[in-house]
Amino acid sequence: MDYIDPHIHMVSRTTDDYATLARMGCVAMSEPAFWAGYDRGSVDGFRDYFRQLTETEPARAAQYGIQHFTWLCINAKEAENVQLSRDVIAMIPEFLDKPNVLGIGEIGLNKNTKNEATIFLEHLDLAAEHGQSILIHTPHLEDKYQGTRMILDMLCDDKRLDRDRILVDHVEEHTIGEVLDRGFWGGMTLYPVTKCTPERAVDMIEQTGGERLLVNSAGDWGPSKPTAVPDLIFEMRRRGLSESLIRKVVYDNPLEFFSKSKQFNFTPRG
C-alpha cells in the first residue's frame, strides 16, 4: 500500500533508508525542522540546515521516487536562546517560497518554560502573518499533558489561526481527545518506549474512527524506526480493519492536511 510518513527526520538517516522506505510503499514524507542533538550557534547554521531541508533532501528522496516536503522553525529545545530564536524566525521568510515548504514546524514546548512559550507565540505570529500551516511538537513523558494543554490554550487564544491547518503531533491516550475535540488534526508518533506503539496507536484509531488522525515514525538520529508506519499498517490488517480505514490514516488524511498548504504539489503514483 502506498503511504505517506508525515513526520520523519531524513537528514539523520542514510540513503539506504530512503531505498527501504520506497520499497515499503512510502511515496511522500514531510520533514519538520528539528534539534540537531546539539544547540546550533548562529543564524547561518540554521540557514545551512534550511538549505539541506529545501534542496538536498528533496533531491535525495526523488532518487527513490519519494516526494519530500518540509516545515521550518527553530526547535523548542533551542528557544532558551531567545535572541538567536528571534534572529532565526526573522530569517525563515527567505525560505517560505521554496517549492517543498508546507509551513512552520515543528514548533511547540519541551520543558514548558517561559522562553519556550514566548518563542512558540512568536512562531504563531510568523505563521499567521504569512498564511502558513503549522506542525506542533508536544513535550515528552511527564511534561506532555501540561505542555499540550498550554499549547492548546495559546492556539485557541489566537483568533487569526485556522485550526484545520494545524497538526498537533505526538498525541497519546491522555491528549488525543482534547486535540481532536478542539478541531485540530492529531499526529501519533510510533516510538515504542517514549511515545506510542503501533498497537496502542491502532487502539486509538479504533476508538476515534481515524478522523483527522495521522501516524508517523518521527525517525531521527535517536532510537527510532523509520519503517514504523508499515508496522502500523500490518497491525491494522492483523486486526481485520478495512483497507479503506488503513488508507485513510496513512495516505488520505496526510494528503488532505498537506493540501491546505499552498505549495503542496503532490503527484500520486500512476
Partner: protein, 91 residues
Amino acid sequence: MTNVRNGDQIVAESFLEVRAKLLEVAATLDRIDRACETAPLDEPAKSKRELLIEATKILLSDEPSRAEQLQQLFSRKYDTDWRQQLGITEA
C-alpha cells in the same frame, strides 16, 4: 468504535504477550527489592517505585480507560494559571 474483533479473539491473540509483559513487571520489582536488601532506595527512586505500584492498582480497576489513567498518573498536573506563573500575557 471500529473494533472488528471480539473479546475472545483479543484474549487468544494477546494472552502470551501480556503474560510476558506482566512477568517483566514482576521480575523488575523483585530485582529492585533484592537490590534494596543491601542499600535502600533514595527518595527520587522511592517515589518512582511507588508510582509503579500505583500503576499496577490502576490495572486492577474495571474502568474502560486504564491506559489514559496511567498516562495521567505519570504526568505533571496542568495548572490553569500557567500564564500568570510564567508571566505570559494572554492574546
